[in-house]
């Protein structure tokens, strides 16, 4: 599966636009912050490579609630439709995560 980094955002106009539309206009963001969407019971993108200090925001765009859980690392509340969850990664490492309601949904954040 394709992984995303900042350069991809530069070259992939579609993704960049999608990300831009989702950013609240008034909120200043660190320029390396990233989004993961839940669509059709899938974390998209399923894997992200990020730098320490990056905040990742998950948005549930399904009509069914989901969660974002990385055992012992972070755990969102249940996200209903359009709810968001953010986590700032302050330590390097691989963060496997899943939806505790639909455990076949898994994702990975690689922090370097």
């Amino acid at each position: 599966m394709k992984t995303l980094n900042r350069r991809d955002f530069g070259v992939d106009l579609g993704l960049a636009l999608a990300a831009a539309i989702l950013l609240p206009a008034t909120k200043a963001r660190a320029d390396n912050d990233l989004e993961v969407h839940i669509d059709n019971f899938v974390f998209q993108p399923p894997e992200l490579k990020i730098k320490v200090g990056t905040t990742v925001t998950w948005t549930n765009r399904d009509d069914i609630p989901h969660t974002v859980v990385s055992a012992g690392k972070f755990r969102s509340k249940t996200l209903d439709t359009d709810d968001k969850f953010s986590f700032t990664f302050t330590n390097a490492g691989d963060y496997k995560y899943f939806c505790s309601l639909h455990p076949h949904m898994t994702g990975m954040i690689k922090v370097e």
Partner: protein, 314 residues
């Protein structure tokens, strides 16, 4: 006792009689099928005539009270329609089981609303939780309401009409990448619960997520469901009921009949027929043909469980 295995799924009359002798009760509850079209009983007409009328219970599932998205903006309303349908049945079922996802988001008001509507059936209802009923942070609303007298996260068993019913919970402690989960503690309890039970006693297992693997790509199955089925293998008649997948699906495997019920809230696609198992939007006119309830009829000396799925409409 355990050697008294019915083996193939057809229980011959001679075998039935053998079992009767062995059981020493004179009455053997094989599972069952109360639909007159079942001709399997002609052979044992004598026994059938002597038999008491069948016992009927009802299954409803996946009410998702609180769901208000386009697939069905009024899940409470269609639950009420299902309840009206139940109340209009010519013969009152003995009781009802609800195979989970009573609510959509485990909110107190959703549980209240569900209770208000379901209680209008005036039937005893035996619940098991779905994953949507265990969403609240402390996971206590379901348990406070329905968990009395249950073990662990809410499992229990009871006998009715000569049948042993076992409510299982497979929606907690789910592991990344996995399916539904029963867990070691519950399996140990199940083994204990079945110990000493006559193998001729029909067993009904019910749980939210299918205990059999329907479609692992969508998480439609239970990781350790096979271990539960192993424990009931020696029984002459086993019925496994579940919800979760919002559509009728059934199969017979040896002495085990698997059956999933419709939702009263919204339909879900057939396995692999859509990008995800999410709510399926259908034409308004078609919605009620894809929602409904199931009634299950046990009758002595018949070979199959009769399950009648009744859509809300059509």
């Amino acid at each position: 006792m355990s050697g008294h295995d019915h083996g193939d799924d057809g229980v011959s009359r001679r075998k039935v009689l053998e079992c009767m002798t062995w059981a020493g009760t004179g009455v053997l509850w094989t599972i069952t099928g109360g639909v007159p079209r079942s001709l399997g009983i002609i052979d044992s007409a004598q026994a059938a005539t002597a038999a008491a009328p069948g016992m009927t219970f009802l299954q409803i599932s996946d009410s998702h009270v609180g769901f208000d998205k386009p697939a069905n903006p009024n899940a409470l309303g269609t639950l009420e329609e299902a309840v009206n349908k139940i109340n209009a049945m010519p013969a009152k079922p003995s009781f009802m089981i609800h195979t989970g996802d009573i609510t959509h988001l485990s909110k107190a008001a959703e549980f209240d609303n569900a209770e208000r509507i379901i209680s209008q059936t005036k039937l005893d209802v035996h619940y098991v939780p779905g994953e949507h009923d265990f969403i609240d942070e402390e996971v206590k609303l379901y348990r406070e309401r329905y968990g009395r007298g249950t073990k662990g996260h809410g499992w229990y068993s009871f006998d009715a009409g000569g049948v042993h019913f076992i409510g299982l919970v497979n929606v907690v402690d789910l592991k990344a990448g996995g399916l539904g989960n029963l867990g070691a503690e519950q399996l140990a309890w199940l083994e204990d619960d079945l110990r000493g039970k006559s193998k001729s006693m029909p067993v009904v297992l019910f749980a939210h997520i299918p205990l059999w693997t329907v479609y692992p790509e969508w998480g439609w199955g239970t990781e350790d469901g096979g271990r539960a089925l192993e424990l009931v293998k020696g029984f002459g008649s086993v019925t496994v009921l579940n919800g979760h997948i919002h559509q009728v699906m059934q199969k017979v495997e040896g002495n085990v009949t698997f059956h999933t019920a419709r939702s009263t809230a919204f339909p879900q696609p057939a396995p692999g027929a859509a990008p995800s198992p999410g709510p399926m939007k259908v034409e308004d006119a078609k919605l009620r043909s894809m929602l409904g309830v199931a009634s299950v009829n046990f009758k002595q000396n018949e070979q199959r469980l009769a399950i009648i799925d009744t859509p809300l409409q059509g």
